[in-house]
């Protein structure tokens, strides 16, 4: 009987403790811990030898009470130092985390050719200071300011690798046991540093974004967002007076956080712009892929088109006396009346279907946060023919990230398959072992290779003889599309251009957006041309030198 009671008491104590541990709440755990001490006390009391009587027996019991107290202490220690230890220690108020972070030899970040774009300087006292030798990559790398403002960009997205928490557990454990400063892993990006610098320069002081991809692999070759910031401004220089530095950093932080400039927004992946006529690539590809149109199909364009009382103006015709235009010419001259009709042929379900295939309304997997591009804001918007027609010409409620615009072009360049974009290709431990690799992957079969080939032809024509003439490069077939997003009467329109080249064997796809820049054909196309030309020239000279 007694043995049974003891067993029961023991089991109920265990059950209480397990329940308390699993609930996770501090105070419920304390309650169960107290409650569990009653059966444990019973067990200890029942273990006092029967022959012990009088004051000796009393003394046994006093000691049993103390032992119960020490058991409770041990259990509480077990919980606080083992079971919930990491959780408690990770609390932001725990100053030790900052101390560790300041000692951590944070991983470096390199461009694809090994150019260091985020480095570190270790002072003799073990403090680690971040360096950013490449001003053009500032916003992409993000800032790193552990004591006050935290992190952004790649510094945030790959923080666990950069600190070494992820990567090589053996190295991590060795550092902890030997009290060596933790060492982080290095990131190797797909970025072509010369293209990046050039893109940064070409955009200059203008607001906007540039994305350049390798259309066959999805590697990001350049990514620029303006206005940008230099993360080096948020790094404290330990050789200067502390208070002075704090003040300087506070000022820099306020400048970076200025609402009007929104420097912390990576416009390339988080900026939403009306895509304008560049969206005609989506409409055209949808029409061809669905078989509702062919490149030679003829449309009537009288300078305007009326859908259910809604008038779509077409100021883009190069010859105002001509009323019959082909599908190809419609794209080439960005004719709104033609594309309104194409939109109606594609129908609202088809339009949405193809927009989604081009990753509108879907999360684009990427190394940095990407905002989802929008087809329509109000539900059922596309079922209205007027709305469908204006969506087909790139107006309506369309909003697109520059990355998405670049991916649409890259899809045409890549035989109708959208590549998965990526920026981080490898992560290496301090010892040089590779712990992470991203290889090229297809993201989505969007249109058939035949349609992609037809679209390529049309886009080449557009640069040869159409609106994209300012992107022509002698000796190279460039395929492209202009876009001009009207914003209203007062502001100048956003200038857009997206292109890829060479048409036969695409090596680079570019999307350029200049906020309030004016006409895409005049402002954005030359930027794309310069980038493509410089990149292909370098690729060629490298190809000759290399194997």
């Amino acid at each position: 009987m007694r043995g049974f009671l003891r067993l029961f008491a023991f089991l109920s104590a265990i059950a209480l403790l397990v329940y308390g541990l699993l609930t996770g709440s501090d105070n419920i755990w304390m309650l169960t811990l107290y409650a569990a001490m009653l059966p444990i006390g019973y067990i200890l009391f029942s273990m006092v030898p029967r022959r012990t009587v009088g004051w000796r027996r009393n003394t046994w019991k006093i000691s049993a009470v103390l032992v119960v107290g020490f058991i409770a202490l041990s259990l509480q220690l077990l919980r606080q130092q083992f079971i919930v230890a990491n959780e408690v220690a990770a609390h932001p108020r725990n100053g030790r985390n900052l101390t560790t972070e300041l000692r951590t030899q944070r991983g470096r970040i390199f461009a694809r050719d090994g150019t260091e774009i985020a480095g570190r300087v270790i002072s003799p006292n073990g403090r680690v200071r971040r360096t950013y030798p490449e001003a053009s990559t500032g916003f992409l790398v993000g800032y790193y300011n552990p004591d006050r403002f935290g992190r952004s960009g790649l510094e945030e997205a790959y923080n666990e690798y950069l600190t070494g928490e992820r990567g090589d557990p053996v190295e991590r454990t060795r550092a902890t046991v030997l009290h060596r400063p933790p060492r982080g892993n290095d990131l190797i990006l797909t970025l072509d540093i010369e293209l990046q610098r050039q893109a940064d320069e070409l955009l200059g002081d203008r607001r906007g974004a540039i994305v350049a991809l390798d259309p066959k692999t999805g590697e990001v070759l350049a990514m620029v967002s303006k206005p940008a910031f230099n993360p080096a401004e948020l790094v404290r220089d330990p050789s200067r007076p502390f208070a002075e530095e704090q003040e300087r950093i506070t000022e820099a932080w306020e400048r970076i956080n200025n609402v009007r400039d929104a420097r912390l927004v990576n416009r390339a992946t988080q900026g939403l712009y009306p895509p304008g006529s560049t969206f005609k690539t989506v409409s055209a590809a949808a029409a061809l892929d669905q078989g509702v149109a062919t490149p030679g199909k003829r449309y009537i364009d009288t300078g305007m088109y009326s859908v259910g009382g809604f008038i779509i103006n077409d100021p883009n015709r190069p010859d105002e006396d001509r009323t019959r235009w082909t599908f190809t010419e419609g794209y080439q001259w960005s004719l709104n009346a033609v594309f309104a009709q194409i939109g109606l042929e594609v129908k609202s379900a088809g339009m949405r279907e193809y927009a989604r295939r081009f990753y509108y309304e879907r999360d684009i997997p990427f190394d940095l946060p990407v905002t989802v591009s929008q087809v329509s804001r109000t539900p059922g918007f596309l079922s209205d023919p007027a709305a469908l027609a204006s969506t087909a010409i790139g107006q309506g409620q369309l909003l697109s990230t520059p990355l998405n615009v670049a991916l649409v072009t890259a899809t045409i360049a890549n035989d109708g398959v959208m590549p998965r974009p990526y920026l981080v290709s490898q992560i290496k431990t301090p010892g040089g072992r590779v712990v992470y690799t991203q290889s090229p992957e297809p993201l989505q079969n969007v249109v058939s290779p035949e349609v992609a080939e037809q679209m390529t032809q049309i886009m080449v024509t557009t640069v040869e003889k159409g609106t994209g003439r300012r992107a022509r490069i002698p000796g190279i077939d460039v395929a492209g599309k202009t876009g001009t997003a009207q914003l209203g009467r007062e502001d100048a329109p956003h200038a857009l251009f997206s292109a890829f080249a060479p048409a036969k064997d695409p090596k680079i796809a570019v999307a350029v957006i200049v906020e309030n820049g004016g006409e895409g054909a005049d402002v954005a196309a030359p930027i794309a041309r310069d980038l493509i030309e410089a990149y292909l020239e370098r690729a060629e000279s490298k190809g000759e030198d290399g194997p």
Binding site: L73, Q80, V88, H179
Partner: protein, 436 residues
């Protein structure tokens, strides 16, 4: 000439552990600070002196023909050694203004403490006079405590007499006086246990019990109200309850008095904002981690950051904790030595408590039995109260961790307790040591 039977070999062997600990610990702290493996002989002078002091006590006990317990002293030495290493660590590597200089002061107090322990054992026979003059002793103790009201509170509690160069904490010596007084008082009245006292349907304990019960409850409440010291009140009351229970074996007394203590505490909670704060920060420390919950959340961070194996001696940040050398010394151990280290220290106290009760059960003299039980309860209960406060098991109170915390009064009182326990373990029925 010495006969082998008188050699205290167990004690000598066990003393190797604190000797190695202090040698390794102090050296480690110095090396961590220096950042390389350069080593100077000066670094081990303190450790050497400590080891010499241990050997001195051991030789004194051996040569004086002492036949008492051989475990108490090594455990006390080990705990003291841990405390010294920790004070050295906080002194050298700590970044709090109150920390520099604590190592040398603690070391001096330890040497005085060792002398006090030796003297206590040597003069153990004189304990009889404490028995005889118990009322004088008790009055002296109560006066000491009452005098505290004249002092201005430090961190909300009146615990210290400010003596200029040093401060004296009378609570530390008062608890020993309490034990001696109760042991003597209760021992003489053991036989009254059977008698009862009826008032109508109520069965009351006999007057010789009732009077001290109410007095003791009153004293504890006064300590809470006037000295604002919850920890000491709980300790004094716990000692009394344990001793009363040892003599009477009446659980009813314990429940009633315990309930009264709780009721009194609840009243204090309602009336005094500082008591309320103590309880609220205990239950919801993360609601105000910057101000009122600061101490306990920092202690929990120390425990969590230490984890299973600890950060290693000198590699944690226990100096993030206020009062780390006194109230939060256990959290510092837990952070740098991990769960393994903190459980080991708990284990040491448990062995000490076990040894204390063992000695009490084998005492030849009723007075000694009760003194032993009372003193052992002090060691066990006091370490429980402060550790439980550190790990958020009970509201935090400001009492010391025996033998480890920084502070002269506390160290001396604890060495007296250790000396008395040693004396009891060797005394015969007439209180004479060594000829048992």
């Amino acid at each position: 000439m010495l006969r082998t039977g008188r050699l205290r070999l167990v004690e000598l062997e066990l003393l190797i552990i604190p000797s190695l600990l202090i040698l390794a610990g102090l050296t480690l702290v110095v090396l961590v600070d220096r950042g390389n493996l350069l080593f100077y002989w000066e670094d081990v002078y303190t450790a050497g002196a400590f080891i010499a002091a241990l050997l001195f006590v051991h030789l004194f006990l051996t040569l004086s023909g002492f036949r008492g317990d051989q475990l108490i002293f090594p455990i006390v030495a080990l705990l003291t050694g841990i405390g010294l290493v920790l004070m050295q660590r906080l002194d050298v590597l700590g970044r709090r203004p109150e920390l520099p200089g604590i190592a040398i002061r603690q070391t001096i107090w330890v040497f005085i403490g060792v002398a006090v322990l030796t003297a206590t054992v040597a003069l153990f026979r004189r304990l009889e006079s404490a028995r005889r003059y118990r009322y004088t002793l008790a009055a002296f103790g109560v006066l000491l405590m009452l005098g505290l009201v004249t002092q201005s509170p430090i961190q909300g509690a009146r615990l210290w007499y400010n003596l200029g160069v040093a401060s004296f904490q009378p609570g530390e010596i008062f608890k020993v006086i309490l034990v001696l007084f109760f042991a003597s008082y209760l021992d003489e009245r053991r036989d009254l246990l059977a008698s009862e006292y009826r008032v109508g349907p109520l069965k009351l304990p006999p007057l010789p019990y009732l009077a001290p019960m109410l007095t003791m409850w009153g004293i504890s409440m006064l300590v809470i109200v006037f000295l604002r010291d919850l920890g000491s009140a709980l300790l004094f009351f716990g000692i009394f309850l344990a001793m009363l229970y040892a003599v009477t074996g009446r659980a009813l007394y314990v429940w009633t008095l315990g309930g009264m203590f709780l009721a009194g505490s609840y009243l204090a909670y309602q009336i005094f904002p500082h008591v309320q704060t103590r309880f609220d920060t205990w239950l919801y420390p993360f609601e105000d981690p910057e101000d009122r919950g600061f101490q306990i959340t920092q202690s929990l961070f120390a425990l969590g950051s230490g984890g299973l194996y600890g950060s290693g001696l000198g590699y944690g940040s226990p100096d993030a904790l206020p009062a780390v050398h006194t109230d939060f010394v256990f959290s510092a151990i837990a952070e740098e030595l991990g769960l393994i280290g903190s459980l080991a220290v708990l284990g040491l106290y448990l062995v000490l408590v076990y040894r204390g009760f063992f000695i009490s059960l084998n005492a030849r003299n009723g007075f000694h039995q009760l003194v032993g039980i009372g003193l052992t309860t002090i060691l066990g209960l006091q370490s429980f109260i402060i550790i439980a406060g550190d790990v958020k098991l009970i509201p935090l109170t400001g009492i010391t961790l025996p033998f480890v915390s920084y502070g002269g009064s506390s160290l001396l009182a604890n060495f007296v307790i250790a000396g008395l326990l040693l004396g009891i373990s060797a005394a015969d029925s007439r209180g004479r040591v060594g000829r048992r």
